[in-house]
């Protein structure tokens, strides 16, 4: 009985010991960045040149994270990243492909207001 039991005893004995000699499965995250698929749904990138101010993105957003604000007389989407659920329905609804995804995901901040991405700031800075 003991013999058969021995062979059926937990394979954990061997497995745990083998891990001492193998490399841990841990990624070296903050020091080495992970490789993300190209179409990862990170922070949305808005291209104001393509925008036709139709407001479809704002209308279809399930989280109401897109607000249309006046920029130089035209209505442009303003993204509230703190509400955004990163579903990219806006990108799908956009007739001109003005909203694209990016692989940037480290959005943590201690200042909530920095999570509102205004379309005008980018214009001003770029100008």
């Amino acid at each position: 009985m003991t013999k058969t039991k021995k062979s059926r005893i937990s394979p954990m004995w061997k497995r745990t010991v083998s891990h001492i000699f193998t490399k841990p499965a841990t990624t070296k995250y903050p020091f080495v960045k992970p490789q993300l698929p190209d179409d990862f749904r990170g922070q949305p990138v808005f291209d104001i040149k393509l925008c036709v101010s139709c407001g479809l993105c704002s209308r279809d957003c399930p989280a109401k994270a897109i607000e249309m604000v006046e920029v130089e007389g035209k209505r442009r989407p303003q993204f509230k990243l703190d509400q955004c659920i990163f579903c990219y329905q806006c990108a799908e609804s956009c007739p001109r492909n003005a909203i694209k995804s990016s692989v940037f995901y480290e959005l943590a901040t201690t200042d909530k207001s920095s999570l509102v991405i205004k379309p005008q700031t980018s214009v001003k800075k770029g100008a």
Binding site: T26, V45, Q83, I85, F86, F104
Partner: protein, 188 residues
């Protein structure tokens, strides 16, 4: 002496996870942080069961009416100094559930929040990044304030490339860069 204490606090953040009505998405990502792939024990982070032991409160979820009061109580039970991190769109502002009849929406409506981590859900890396940012905010004498951003022309665009850098250096490049990345596109 003060340096030693700050050092100890930064190196040993024990966290308590509070689910205030989340969908489990963020919660499993928090638990995933403990597991071999991310292993936050590297940074001394321990998930503690009791609010009495914790330094950092990780709140997920959109704060339902029933949970608001509990959240307040759990926060009060924690010993000073204590910090709150809101994880996920729901905890930051209510997310997709904002405006529902049973939802308060946003952790900062109930307790003060130190750091926000948007995402639905944020990647475990993003959560780790948020905790590291919080801890870096601890290091200078003025707590809770992020040091002024130095504008970096470099963009963290090519994340695929393994770049070796100190965590501080990584976190210096805040949210801003990507906005700047959006600009050139806009200008073309």
């Amino acid at each position: 002496m003060a340096n030693t204490i700050t050092w100890a606090r930064v190196k040993s953040p024990w966290v308590l996870h509070f689910n205030s009505g989340a969908c489990n998405g963020c919660d499993i990502e928090i638990v995933a942080l403990l597991t071999p792939k991310y292993d936050v024990e590297r940074f001394g982070v321990k998930l503690e069961p009791s609010p009495r032991h914790a330094d950092v409160l990780l709140v997920t979820g959109c704060v339902t009416q029933q949970c608001a009061e509990r959240l307040k109580r759990v926060y009060d039970q924690m010993p000073q100094p204590k910090f709150v991190v809101a994880i996920g769109a729901c905890a930051c502002s209510g997310g997709v559930f904002a405006g529902n009849y049973n939802v308060v929406g946003g952790v900062d409506k109930v307790i003060p929040v130190t750091a926000y981590i948007p995402g639905c859900p944020p990647r475990p890396e993003a959560i780790l990044d948020g905790v590291v940012k919080l801890l870096n905010a601890l290091s200078p004498p003025k707590p809770k304030k992020q040091p002024k951003q130095v504008k970096t022309p470099e963009l963290p665009k090519e994340e695929a490339k393994p770049e070796v850098a100190k965590p501080e250096a990584v976190t210096q490049q805040e949210v801003k860069p990507i906005v700047e990345e959006a600009k050139p596109n806009a200008k073309q």
